[in-house]
């Protein structure tokens, strides 16, 4: 029996999410024996033609060429899994969606006419159907392995759609907001990181994006009580998942 094939694709991103695959040091060589890594240009010069059983897609769509390329990836892939905040919500570069891209380009590049770029940074799901979305900036290694294992076994990944608070409680951490008065987005942020920031006595800054149906309205007065100004609230909801609708709605009107 031939091995299932895995392809990894990069769009506008930092490479951190696909690096997570190489960071599975203990599992990498085992995984390479269970799947055929058919296309992973960051790791291999060898590229096999499609179709592919599973495609991992990192990054957001920010150029006209990438709008076309993601369609080709979809056509060649049985299962498409987006990995990380860029691919799932547009990433930090989606801040351009609320600004003036021409002005951004002129401020960074002397000759912006050499660039080919769209006015927006959009998630993969805005362009093609996506079978599963993996959250995080970056994604979690354990969640990646669970997802790959699930699709190779033909089942759905067993990943909770709950908030960071549930992971924080499960770890037995003291709530940074209640105990220290530190602003924390844990109540409205998708689980998956394992409550990394509260474990460092830092408030969650939402890098896994919004949980389903977040109660941001209830959180906002608490953030103010913790000393956040309206500007600061606008900024903290305008980072790596700035274009996720539930976060963008909070930042709307608070963004300078």
């Amino acid at each position: 029996m031939s091995l299932p094939t895995l392809a990894v694709w990069k769009f506008a991103s930092c490479d951190g999410c696909q690096l997570t695959l190489l960071d599975c040091e203990d599992e990498l060589l085992t995984l390479a024996g269970r799947v055929r890594i058919a296309s992973f240009t960051e790791a291999s010069s060898e590229v096999l033609p499609g179709p592919y059983d599973v495609s991992l897609v990192e990054g957001s769509i920010t150029t006209p060429a990438d709008e076309q390329r993601i369609r080709q990836v979809r056509e060649q892939s049985r299962v498409v899994v987006t990995i990380g905040a860029c691919a799932t919500s547009g990433g930090i570069q989606a801040l351009r969606n609320f600004g003036d891209v021409a002005e951004f380009a002129a401020s960074v590049y002397a000759s912006p006419e050499y660039l080919s770029t769209l006015d927006t940074s959009t998630p993969i799901s805005a362009h093609v159907p996506v079978d599963f979305e993996l959250r995080g900036c970056p994604i979690d290694r354990g969640q990646l392995l669970e997802t790959l294992g699930a699709f190779l076994a033909g089942r759905k990944p067993d990943l909770p759609d709950s908030s960071v608070c549930t992971e924080c409680k499960r770890r037995g951490l003291t709530c940074v907001m209640v105990a220290d008065g530190t602003p924390c987005l844990g109540p409205v942020t998708h689980a998956g990181c394992g409550a990394l920031c509260p474990a460092c006595r830092r408030g969650c800054f939402g890098c896994f994006g919004p949980v389903t149906a977040p109660n941001t309205a209830a959180l906002l007065p608490i953030l103010r009580t913790c000393g956040m100004t309206e500007d600061a609230v606008g900024r903290v909801f305008s980072t790596f998942n700035a274009a996720a609708p539930d976060f963008a709605a909070v930042a709307e009107g608070r963004r300078r």
Binding site: C14, D15, L19, E25, A43, S45, T62, F104, C200
Partner: protein, 428 residues
């Protein structure tokens, strides 16, 4: 003029990634244009209006391979803007987490990206079929580097525990004890890697680039410093913009930098050649065993220099852990103020410069970032001209593979390091 397009790979070719165009005249390479095509993300523009606390987290997202470098250069620049200085255990912890990134990033490049070039494999995973032990040793080292970043930073990719002024929380001595044991094992592994890679077959070649690196009095530069060059210049980070000019070229989204008007190189070869006397005793011994002199200008041997730097990073991490006493608070008090600050640090692939201007409210009004890849682009193109020029008789595929090797020598950001899909040779 005739242009011949050489297909490097059969797969559907895509925009993006990178491309190389060689201009050949009278059998010589007159110019090499390396197109590093990363979709522009406009970080310097979107940093405007952000609070002084935010650039470490935001700029780490420029590169998932060296986030600690971005966080550290950002912290150095913002602390300079606010008139704060990190010292004692907080400065040691900052250097310690950076050691983790050097170990991890170098181990990745050596084993999964660069060694396959010398041994004739398309990737490290395939290479493991023949060199399982060496690849597993490399992955174990990489994992130790990641574990060090996770211990101090909370996460290996985009650490969460780093802030301007220090950290959100700091470990006690007991928390570092298991890491010490692990690093002792890593030291043996790292020395074995130096022996392994020093036995590779290196093309005979010396580049003539000017060299630039950070300089930190009395120790090998990693997490902070001023700037020195092989042309005899030494200046503080604040004078970096007086010497290094970036300009845009049509063929790449990475800007091209020059040092006092000339091409130059930053990264392991520059760092080693300008600072080799400052390595620790174990790393110095490993370098001598590997046949490295006080300088190394052969880009193919950069794999040996990286391996020596892994030994140093492990050795240095052990020294820092042994001398560690927890600070009385996890971060120094910072009061933001209007002004401009500059900061540098040595990312695994070269010097990374950040500059921020803050207003009275502590909001960023201007941000400038000069990454190693844009600094090295002219040097990489010069290597390509000289090295490819001597091999124009090679077949198309062989020439393309060789050019990729020349680029990988410099470990530019991983996305362009491994692969470019197009090679165009323009002959006239």
């Amino acid at each position: 003029m005739t242009a011949r397009r050489l297909v490097v790979n059969a797969i559907a070719r895509v925009e993006g990634e990178g491309a190389l165009r060689l201009h050949v005249e009278d059998g010589r390479v007159a110019a090499a244009e390396l197109n590093i095509y990363e979709p522009p993300r406009f970080f310097e523009a979107l940093l405007r209006g952000r609070a002084w606390t935010e650039p470490p987290d935001i700029t780490s997202r420029i590169c998932g391979i060296c986030p600690v470098a971005y966080q550290t250069s950002a912290c150095n620049a913002l602390e300079a803007a606010c008139g704060a200085v990190l010292d004692g255990p907080l400065a040691d912890l900052r250097r310690l987490v950076y050691c983790g990134e050097w170990i991890s990033s170098h181990a990745l490049h050596i084993h999964l990206l660069h060694a396959p070039d010398f041994l004739g494999f398309p990737d490290g995973i395939t290479m493991a079929g023949r060199y399982r032990e060496a690849v597993e040793r490399g992955l174990a080292l990489k994992k130790t580097g990641n574990a060090l970043m996770e211990l101090l930073g909370g996460r290996a990719i985009h650490p969460v525990n780093v802030r301007v002024g220090g950290f959100y929380s700091v470990p006690d001595r007991a928390a570092l004890a298991p890491m010490r044991e692990r690093l002792l094992g890593a030291l043996d592994q790292a020395r074995a890697v130096v022996r392994w890679v020093s036995g590779f077959d290196f093309p005979d070649f010396e580049s003539g680039h000017d060299l630039l690196s950070a300089a930190d009095p009395g120790r090998y530069p990693i997490d902070r410093g001023s700037v020195v060059t092989s042309t005899g210049k030494a200046f503080p980070a604040a004078e970096f913009p007086d010497h290094v000019i970036e300009r845009q070229v049509p063929h790449s989204t990475a800007l091209h930098a020059s040092l006092d008007g000339r091409r130059y190189l930053t990264g392991p070869l520059a760092r080693y050649s300008l600072n080799s006397a400052l390595l620790g005793p174990v790393a110095r011994e490993a370098a001598a065993e590997a046949g490295l002199g006080p300088e190394c200008r052969n880009p193919f041997r950069s794999i040996v220099v990286r391996a020596v730097e892994v030994v140093y990073a492990v050795e240095e991490a052990l020294r820092l852990i042994d001398g560690y006493e927890p600070p009385d608070r996890p971060a120094v008090e910072i009061t933001p103020r209007a002004g401009t600050g500059h900061g540098v640090s040595e990312a695994p692939r070269g010097l990374l410069y950040h500059r921020y201007t803050l207003d009275e409210a502590g909001l960023v009004t201007e941000a400038t970032i000069v990454p190693p890849t844009s600094q090295n682009q002219a040097a990489i193109e010069d290597d390509l001209c000289r090295l490819a020029g001597a091999r124009l008789g090679l077949g198309d595929d062989e020439l393309a593979l060789f050019c990729e090797r020349v680029i990988r020598n410099h470990d530019p950001c991983i996305s362009c390091a491994t692969h470019f899909l197009d090679l165009t040779v323009v002959r006239r």
